[in-house]
Amino acid sequence: MNSPLLQVAGLRVAVGGKEILTGLDLTVRAGEVHAIMGPNGSGKSTLAHVLAGREGYEVTGGSASYRGQDLLAMAPEERARAGIFLGFQYPIEIPGVSNVYLLRSALNARRAARGESEIDAAGFLRLVRDKARLMQMDESFLQRGVNEGFSGGEKKRNEIFQMAVLEPTLAILDETDSGLDIDALKVVANGVNSLRSAERSFVLVTHYQRLLDYIRPDFVHVLAGGRIIRTGDRTLALELEAGGYDQVLAAAAS
């Protein structure tokens, strides 16, 4: 058995003095797809943000390691350069910074961290064009400001496009499915599926089972009260869909 890519053990996290994660355990190995499901307020987004290094979260206990390194000691950009990608639930609009500029800067930051030279212009262009085609995005999007004036669906699609260009080792997608119509959901799922590989892992944070019709997870976890209370295969998601969170929560409590 290969060693875990991500190992979270007994993680406790507070925001503004209120404990949101109350001892969370999660192990993700290379090539695996994990779905984290749970009701609103269960701590799903907190988990995604803490793993990406957002400020304002106080780790009060437990640990998280990535490739054997203390993840929590790394700055957000160090995590990104080490291959972690966060797909935002609410992607930020950054007028005046074009998508290609952001991607080139991000790629080169990664390359510099690995001691590689900057990507050549032609290779870069080819890469972003290929990936834009994969995400069925018009090339004009590349020159536009990051998420500037994008619809909700376009923003999510842009997140997956960025992920496709940056080719992370661990992608954490925070409610990427929310606010998507069925066509956009298929495009997003197709983007994720095309990136699945034996080396790349995904953590899909989602409220609904719908996404999992298109991206088949290896594991489904139910997050409630800041902890993972049940883990199963994709049939657990169907169970949640049929019975709702209440039933699963009640069963776990009894």
Partner: protein, 437 residues
């Protein structure tokens, strides 16, 4: 210390070297008389609330002391105009040193005049006199009077009715040389009926410079002026810059003002929408980093029905810099159906820096649409995290966001090369010099 009535001392020094035709003499005399009355602006004047001219006056005093030596007031010779040898120049460049035209490159095609009042072709005398008359007819302002009293040259730019020079921008480079140098550049622009002109005015110079520039432009019926003003003084440069732009019916102006340098820079821009249906777009950018003091006072006056203005200034203050935006829109009686929008957004990047913003609306008619607003803040923490989550380090993320914020103000510059040059300058300045707490 400045002598009593320093403009008189300065005028007596400046007169001999000026070489201007006789006929603006009266113009200068009346300016001196008004200065005797009004003196220099000070803090008691609301419009000068944010900027003190003390340091400016000190430099003037240094200049007067040095100007007693004849060498210091020698003006550059006016070159002979280059004949139209270049078949189709891409641009006209005019170099103005210490207020006097020094060189001009690029031949002017028929319908366009660019040159010095000192070398005016006889057939343009009537038009120049008319323009000078318009200038003299404007409401008096102390710094304009000071410029009129001490002016050593007048740069004239004029188009003939119905001509278009969109593809032939006129670049005026105002420079100060010598230390100390006090220059009084004066530019008069006449964009005749139904013509189009693209003009850039760049203020620069050497250490120790002091300049009091005045630009006045009249845009005729249905005509258009594209104007870019760039202030890129040396770090200790000082500039007061007054401009007046008057629009006739159906005329339009697109103005971009950029302040990147200097120690003390104060501009006062008045745009008068005098004719029905005229419109003006004003974008501004100022970078008050280091110890810079940059004061922008703008006035947009709607005097006729159906006039439109949109003004947007973006500013940044860092280090011990101070940036000021004092923008006013007045909608006068008779300007029914007008439309005005004014916005000022600022980034304050250090606790030791300061931003003062004062957007004002004065409306004297009912049937108008006006909006105004100002914000001053820090970089958006969410955007910073977003960029860091993509691998950019904090310094790079801040630089990217700061440059993007300011760059928006350059979006209306119609000359791609100039826009790119300014963007590069901005990037360079932010990359090299802007500190963050």
């Amino acid at each position: 210390m400045l002598p009593e009535r320093p403009w008189r001392t300065a005028a007596s020094l400046a007169r001999d070297g000026a070489g201007l035709p006789d006929w603006p003499a009266e113009w200068r005399a009346s300016a001196l008389a008004r200065l005797d009355e009004a003196g220099m602006p000070d803090g008691s004047d609301e419009e000068w609330r944010y900027t003190s001219l003390t340091a400016w006056g000190q430099r003037w005093s240094d200049y007067l002391a040095a100007a007693g030596q004849p060498a210091a007031i020698t003006l550059p010779a006016v070159p002979s105009m280059q004949p139209g040898s270049v078949a189709r120049p891409a641009a006209i460049h005019v170099q103005v040193v210490n207020g006097a035209l020094l060189t001009q490159t690029g031949a002017t095609p028929p319908g366009l005049f660019v040159g010095s009042l000192r070398q005016l072709p006889p057939e343009l005398r009537g038009r120049a006199a008319e323009l000078l008359g318009k200038s003299a007819g404007l409401p008096p302002e102390q710094l304009v009077d000071l410029n009129s009293a001490l002016v050593s040259d007048v740069i004239l730019i004029g188009t003939d009715a119905g001509t278009s020079f969109d593809g032939l921008p006129v670049h005026i480079h105002l420079q100060g040389s010598g230390s100390p140098a006090f220059s009084h550049p004066r530019i008069l622009v006449d964009v005749a009926r139904s013509s189009r002109l693209t003009l850039t005015i760049e203020h620069s110079g050497a250490d120790g410079m002091l300049a009091n520039a005045v630009t006045q432009a009249w845009i005729g019926h249905g005509a258009h002026l594209d104007l870019v003003r760039v202030q890129s003084l040396p770090d200790d440069g000082m500039l007061t810059d007054t401009s007046h732009i008057d629009l006739a019916a159906a005329a339009s102006a697109r103005i971009t003002s950029v302040d990147l340098g200097g120690l003390l820079s104060r501009q006062s821009m008045t745009v008068v929408l005098a004719g029905a249906g005229s419109s003006a777009t004003v974008d501004g950018l100022f970078l008050a980093d280091d110890r810079r003091h940059i004061d922008n006072r703008t006035l947009l006056e709607h005097r006729a029905p159906g006039t439109t203005s949109r003004e947007s200034f973006r500013g940044l203050a860092d280090g011990h810099g101070r940036g000021i935006f004092n923008g006013k829109i007045i909608v006068m009686p008779g300007a029914e159906g007008s439309n005005a929008a004014l916005s000022n957004r600022n980034l304050l990047l250090a606790a030791t820096a300061e931003i003062d913003t004062k957007p004002e609306l004065e409306i004297y008619v009912d049937d108008v649409k006006c909006s105004h607003g100002a914000t001053t803040g820090q970089l958006d923490a969410n955007a910073l995290f977003y960029l860091r989550s993509r691998g950019l380090d904090p310094a790079a993320a801040r630089q990217v966001l700061t440059a993007a914020f300011l760059r928006e103000a350059l979006g209306h510059i119609a000359l791609p090369e100039l826009r790119e040059r300014l963007e590069a300058r901005l990037q360079e300045k932010l990359g090299g010099g802007v500190r963050h707490p």
